[in-house]
């Protein structure tokens, strides 16, 4: 049952590189990148908080840019490179941003956390030493109902201030 039956229309071939691995999929036209990641590729670290582009929980990197995967159709991801939260750890070691989140307790229930981390990753990649204001704007679209915001900001600032920058 990994590929549910398509209720409407035919399937489309999609080639996409996810966390460095090439994937070849056949998807219905209206299937979103978020659904493909979670249901077809079993990468459930990317969360659905609203499904309509208003919460940021589904944030992933597409060709290095932060995107709301609930608003990206899988067919639109054809030929692109996608990075999800699962792609951040190397040999079981967490990425510096993830480590900073843990050190600063920037997560409570943790459901928004992957989206927050990915949004900040996109920022730090483009701007290695962002200001507090830039950090806040990068995650303004990411709802944290637990209210971990002060900690998220602290965690991001710590990484932003690291002399060596963010890889």
């Amino acid at each position: 049952m990994s590929t549910p039956s398509a209720p409407s229309g035919s399937l489309h071939a999609v080639r996409v590189t996810v966390n460095g691995r090439p994937e070849a999929l056949r998807v219905p036209a209206r299937r979103t990148l978020l659904q493909v990641l979670r249901e077809d590729l079993h990468l459930t670290g990317t969360k659905e908080g609203c499904g309509v582009g208003t919460c940021g929980a589904c944030t992933v990197l597409v060709d290095g840019r932060a995107m709301l995967s609930c608003l990206v159709l899988a067919v639109q991801a054809d030929g692109r490179t996608v990075e999800t939260i699962e792609g951040l750890s190397r040999d079981g070691a967490l990425d510096p941003l993830q480590q900073a989140f843990i050190a600063h307790d920037a997560l409570q229930c943790g459901f928004c956390t992957p989206g927050q981390v990915m949004a900040l990753r996109a920022l730090l990649r483009a701007t290695p030493h962002p200001s507090l204001d830039e950090i806040r704007r990068a995650v303004e679209g990411n709802v944290c109902r637990c209210g971990a915001y002060p900690r998220i900001q602290q965690a991001a600032l710590e990484v932003a201030r690291a002399a060596e920058g963010y890889r």
Partner: protein, 767 residues
């Protein structure tokens, strides 16, 4: 032998008589000044790597092999009867496997018998009409449009004040007031009290419907393994879900297992099984496949519970020296279409201050709107808005410093139940908070409204009173592995509060192991019973049981070491993971050496939560201070700083304690200034579906938050001296902000949220 005693136990602002089983002697309370290695230190989350790494599996992340997806058809009418319902077109739609409705489902009682799983009378926009199960969620949702329903619309009532007028449409045959009458409380003689007053303040206060909006929506995934039902549920109470589902399906408890190892927030909205939980189980039984029902964000706005709006009137009277002589309180809570228990709105007004003459009346009113649910300190947030705004208005009228006025009316004992408090360090919280905000900078509130000019600053404060004692029963098990690592099992939940980490710290402390050598598992009804994660009771209920379980394992370790070392157990010490002869540290061995030697004999311990002490009231306390800047021209309120200082007993983990404070304050801030769930009075429709029109706080709107703790153990509450911190921090925030706004402008907005339009209107009204 266990014995059963009756005890008055506080939960979520209500006191109830409960049978409590006493199984033996509890451990003595760790006194103030006890030296700890792990407790009281800022241990980072033991499951942080899973949560931040994306490998934590929440209910919503479960797609078992063969899973089918459910979608729910909901009533478009606030009140209607189903005349006819045809499902054949939906059943034939591509991918659809099953449609459930009242026509093919048992009349399972729901909402305490007020309704049933599929009722033919619908009482709010969003009430469940039918379930479609299909191969994928999109197919299930598409098929909802193919279900044909003939509704007979019935008269409805949305506003709670209209609902209590004679002749109003009835939500339930028993009438629109829960319990048939207001809840009343009185002590002394309020009329006499007001006669003795030199100053009287009367305020009308309203608070809005507020939504929980946990980031993980409500959801259940159910399947059958033979005759055993397995349910993953995003819940605050796995054992409660098990009990409700077993009753609904009429199957024995031992045939239901409920799991919730990771949970994406609840805030009170997930205290019970939902209809979707039972429906997933029913559909799975019919289809022989796993069924997953996860709410959309829009359903979360319609049918997932809310903090019900309140309409309150409060009158307080005092002598010229500030001594309170009378409090008269009246409040209405609009509990929606279904609710079994009332909202304890009057809690703060009746208990917070020493006052001989108090009268309170609360009405819990049914309306044709979405059901209310507990939401982080239900009733007390709303009630504190009324009481603490009135107290500060009174202080202004008497020209007494508001903090001073509060201290003059400090309640040394519980006047409602007529007994002492187990501990109360509210004076300390006041002092620490006042110092941190610089309360002495507070200027007198302007005598006349400030209508124009540059933005003005103001300082305000409010007090927090709440339960959070926890209680029996709760159980835990600890066992040691041959390699010296320890495992703890407890059937509680970590809803984001850090329960798992705090409980791990307690076990590690007792066993003198590093936190990394203790693995705690929770969220599974196969583990020992624990209560629901609500009422700020988790740590204070489960923590003492974990300590006792670890202590029993520790005693077994010592006994085993004593026989190996050939000394009496009294002469064996356990420190830093090493067992040794007292005074002869070199004569000893590490825990792992001992457990390794005894092989597969397992050292284990079981612990229970002892009863609460008799004859005392256990409360949490706190004070918050807000500094705001208000632009009189636009009415815009900017919160610059919130200082929060709470007395919740001993703090097990200061890092997580502060995170809880941040979270509560931020939700309080949302309620104070922005959040409002709106129901159209004409159609009963929810006007804020999802996050688009409902303003949850975002990172850009967050002020500086200073989180302080009194951090003194309660001397008798339980063997750890802890109380809960989940709910306390949201309680005083809206009132503190409102008071700061009043201090800035000289006018008082008592209708929450305090929007710029309301500020402008209030300034205009006084012109």
């Amino acid at each position: 032998m266990p014995r059963i005693i009756k005890q008055r136990v506080e939960f979520e602002g209500r006191v109830e008589e409960r049978n409590v089983v006493i199984e033996g002697d509890d451990l003595p309370v760790w006194p103030a000044g006890e030296r700890f290695q792990v407790i009281g230190t800022p241990v980072t989350r033991v499951d942080g790597a899973q949560r931040a790494g994306g490998t934590a599996r929440y209910t919503a992340d479960l797609y078992p092999a063969g899973v089918l997806h459910g979608a729910i058809l909901r009533s478009p009418h606030p009140h209607a009867r189903i005349r006819a319902l045809r499902t054949s077109r939906a059943e034939q739609a591509p991918g659809v496997r099953l449609v459930l409705s009242h026509r093919n489902t048992d009349a399972i009682p729901w909402y305490n018998g007020m309704s049933r799983i599929f009722d033919t009378e619908l009482r709010y926009v969003g009430d469940e009409v039918a379930l479609v199960v299909a191969d994928d969620a999109a197919a299930a949702r598409d098929a909802l449009d193919l279900i044909e329903v003939e509704y007979e619309p019935l008269p409805h009532v949305i506003d709670p004040l209209e609902a209590i007028r004679p002749g109003a449409p009835q939500v339930h045959p028993q009438g629109n007031v829960l319990g048939g009458a207001p809840e009343r409380y009185a002590r002394g003689d309020v009329e006499q009290g007001f006669l003795a007053a030199d100053a009287i303040v009367e305020l009308d206060v309203t608070t809005p419907d507020v939504l929980h909006h946990s980031m993980e929506t409500h959801g259940s995934v159910a399947w059958w393994e033979g005759d055993t039902l397995v349910i993953w549920d995003s819940t605050q109470h796995i054992f409660g879900v098990r009990r409700q589902v077993a009753a609904a399906l009429r199957i024995p408890l031992d045939r239901v297992r409920v799991l919730s190892p990771f949970m994406g927030g609840g805030f009170g909205g997930k205290n019970n099984a939902g209809k979707h939980t039972v429906l997933a189980a029913l559909a799975s039984r019919r289809l022989g496949r796993p069924v997953r029902i996860v709410f959309t964000r829009a359903e979360e706005s319609q049918a997932a519970g809310k903090r019900p709006r309140s309409v309150q009137r409060i009158r307080v009277g005092a002598r010229s020296d500030g001594t309170l002589v009378a409090i008269d309180y009246w409040g209405v809570s609009s509990i929606g279409a279904y609710r079994a228990i009332g909202t304890p709105l009057a809690g703060p007004a009746t208990e917070l201050y020493a006052c001989p003459n108090v009268r309170a009346e609360t009405l819990n009113v049914f309306t044709h709107t979405g059901p209310a649910a507990a939401f982080r300190a239900p009733g007390y947030v709303e009630g504190t808005c009324a009481l603490e705004c009135a107290i500060e208005a009174l202080a202004d009228q008497l020209e007494i410093d508001p903090l001073e006025l509060r201290l003059r009316n400090y309640a040394e004992a519980d006047q409602v139940l007529g007994r002492p408090y187990s501990s109360k360090f509210l004076r300390e919280a006041y002092a620490m908070g006042a110092r941190a905000i610089g309360w002495e900078r507070r200027a007198l509130t302007p005598r006349s409204p400030v209508r124009d000019g540059p933005p003005r600053r103001g300082l305000g404060m409010a007090t927090q009173l709440w339960g959070g004692s926890g209680s029996a029963p709760a159980y835990a098990e600890v066992r040691l592995n041959p390699d010296g690592t320890a495992e703890v099992r407890i059937g509680t939940q970590d809803i984001g509060t850090g329960t798992k980490t705090a409980l791990t710290q307690i076990a590690a402390e007792v066993l003198t192991l590093p936190v990394g050598k203790v693995t705690l598992s929770l969220g599974d009804t196969d583990f020992p019973y624990s209560p629901l994660s609500a009422g700020s009771q988790t740590l204070a209920s489960c923590g003492p049981a974990v300590r006792m379980a670890a202590d029993e394992a520790r005693r077994h370790l010592i006994d085993a070491a004593a026989s190996l070392l050939e000394v009496a157990p009294e002469d064996v010490r356990l420190e830093g993971g090493r067992l040794f002869v007292a005074g002869v540290p070199e004569r000893g061995l590490a825990i792992a050496e001992l457990t390794g030697q005894i092989g597969n004999f397992t050292i284990a311990g079981r612990g229970f939560r002892g009863p609460n002490p008799d004859g005392v009231t256990i409360r949490t306390w706190g004070a918050q201070f807000a500094e705001v800047e208000v632009d009189p021209e636009t009415g815009e309120v900017s919160v610059l700083r919130i200082v929060a200082c709470h007395d919740v007993g001993r703090v097990i983990n200061p890092l997580q304690y502060q995170s809880q404070i941040h979270g509560g304050v931020i939700q309080g801030l949302g309620m104070a200034l922005r959040e409002e769930h709106v129901t159209d009075p004409e159609t009963g429709a929810v006007l804020d579906l999802g996050f688009d029109a409902y303003a949850v706080p975002r990172i850009t709107g967050i002020p500086e938050i200073v989180a302080l703790a009194v951090d003194k153990p309660d001397p008798i509450a339980n063997n750890l001296g802890v109380k809960g911190v989940g709910e306390p921090p949201i309680i005083p925030t809206p009132a503190a902000i409102a008071n700061a706004v009043a201090n800035a402008l000289g006018v008082r907005v008592t209708s929450f949220p305090i929007t710029p339009a309301k500020v402008r209107a209030e300034l205009g009204r006084r012109a």
